[in-house]
Symmetry: C2
Subunit: 357 residues, 2 copies
């Protein structure tokens, strides 16, 4: 564990795809969707704790989630939670953390991670992150972590590597492909899932902003004196109101020439949909996955059932369904229709306002 | 409204068929299953209030429901709730009320009614009851009310009348028939549904007990001095522990020769199952019946949905289902499987004990 290693957890997402369990006031990263006993953000924090001293974590989130972050990560101080006044995609989020660290510790090495993914094999994961930290420091590289694909997933971005080294220069980033392209990617062997995890020195990423997103560089470096002071809140509000929303992949990674990928296979999932939760869950002999104290199923197969604490259900005659119950909203829909959840939310909002959103 | 007219509401049932909404601690008669804003027992009470002075109601129920009865019918005094120590079917229930009234008012005219049925046309109903009261008083008859059948229902008992008079002597009582027999009954025109409502003078029913259920007569008349005193509770416990469980139909009505039926058509239902609640409920253009603040249905037809207050649901892809949600138990089952609810309860009880029953 090295004193100048920092971990930046990006936790500003709303996660509407897990409605009705996720809400605007309680997004996915604060939920224990998989029934592990820990929220995603808590698991993420603990996953990096063997590598990063607890005082070196930063969480970037929306102002409205600050209390939730501190509740889930009571080891952190108030100052370790950076509040975005508004979501502007990943580049401004990462810039906020990077320029804060630039002031605090110019030799900082920085890991950036989503707050709501799953990693099953933590030891393998940690040794890969350590390897990336060393490489990034030695080479001034912008490192990404790629995941060995196991299926032609159309919901992920892909990274193409340029050679067979364990750590390879990146040839190309690709947004979510269609099924045909995804199949070609998986067969070809050069393509890996983009985990959204980045490792770099603060100097390297700041330099990359300077070259590839000069407006963002100008904005975030202009308030360097304000980070960590009582002026920070006002300053960052101004910067966020002026800076363009753009992803780090599109704004920096696809353009820089010192981008490398370390590919691995450590039981990763972005747990992006109820369907992926179903896939990851333990199933009974009828392939039902039940997250509940008790559930009685009859003529029911390949169905995912999630109930609130203390609640039971009797379910008869459903095949390939998602049933998610919460104290104030119940969802019953075919697994094949899970992409419609956003439409359901729109319909609920249209009639009921924000109450159930 | 005549001072010696009394109404006995039988409210001891458990109503397991409405699980998970009905529970041992909250049976059907105390629920507002149809979303009318009133419980069944409250509606029953109000239905008879134009005919019977409020101090002339008696409710016979289990000891454990006494507080619930007084909560739903705050017009009643403690003494108007007769508590059975144990359910012994309808004959002992009616005997308890009849012999209590015999002591209190030997000239009493007595209406006996279930507590959990529906009547849509109350004016017609009330004029039929008044007609029955007059006939029963004039003729010393044991009167029943028959319902014009609208379908070959196999869940009801039938009464065959012996002629075409408005009030006819009963030829025969029949228990729940099979479908073939029910079809014959409906076509034949002589058969009517047994509403479980009886009208008679106390003298006539006591005389009938004396002839047809002499053991019950002996038991209930032996404690005549105890009704309305502080000895009543102990005395009635003794009587119930000794008396045989038997229905009034089987024990008295099928045997007596002064049994008459007044047939009518006043929008009656025993509301015996979720299916009958579905049939009685208002439906949307996809024939869904929803009892909820808000429910968003997609590709969903002929489905009954009942949600707790303040809860919403999104339901996609269900045809002919029953969805009943409560704070601690959810039921999803095909409408064709509603007779399985008793099996579900057995399975829940086997694993979870009485908690959700």
């Amino acid at each position: 564990m090295v004193k100048n290693t920092y971990c930046v957890i990006m936790a500003g997402g709303v996660g509407a795809r897990f409605w009705p369990k996720s809400r605007k006031t309680m997004p996915k990263q604060f939920l224990d969707i998989l029934g592990t006993g820990k929220s995603f953000i808590r698991s993420t924090f603990e996953r990096f704790l063997p590598i990063v001293p607890k005082e070196n974590f930063l969480v970037v989130t929306n102002q409205s989630y600050k209390e939730l972050v501190l509740e889930h990560l009571p080891e952190l101080t108030d100052k370790q939670v950076l509040c975005e006044p508004i979501g502007r995609n990943t580049a401004p989020c990462i810039a906020y953390a990077a320029y804060s660290l630039l002031k605090q510790d110019p030799d900082a090495r920085m890991i950036v991670t989503p707050s709501d993914h799953l990693v099953l094999n933590e030891p393998d994961f940690q040794s890969i992150i350590n390897e990336c930290l060393e490489f990034a420091t030695a080479e001034g590289a912008l490192m990404t972590v790629g995941i060995q694909p196991t299926r032609p997933e159309t919901g992920y971005g892909y990274i193409q590597k340029s050679n067979n080294e364990r750590i390879s220069r990146v040839k190309c980033f690709t947004e979510k492909p269609n099924l045909e392209l995804a199949q070609t990617f998986v067969e070809c062997g050069e393509f890996f899932w983009n985990s959204g995890i980045f490792i770099w020195s603060v100097k390297a990423i700041v330099e990359a902003f300077q070259h590839h997103l000069p407006e963002h560089h100008a904005l975030f470096s202009s308030i360097l004196n304000d980070y960590g002071t009582e002026r920070e809140k006002t300053a960052i509000e101004q910067v966020f109101s002026e800076c363009k929303a753009i992803s780090i992949d599109y704004g920096v990674m696809e353009k820089a020439d010192n981008v490398y990928v370390r590919c691995g296979d450590f039981g990763w999932s972005d747990v992006g949909t109820w369907g992926s939760v179903y896939q990851l869950s333990e199933k009974d002999k009828y392939e039902n996955a039940v997250v509940a104290e008790a559930c009685y199923t009859y003529s029911t197969e390949r169905t995912f059932i999630s109930l609130p604490k203390g609640k039971i259900a009797v379910v008869n005659g459903l095949k390939d369904y998602i049933i998610v119950d919460t104290p104030d909203a119940l969802l019953i829909c075919p697994r094949s229709e899970e992409q419609s959840i956003k439409n359901y939310i729109d319909d609920v909002r249209f009639e009921n306002g924000e109450k159930f959103i």
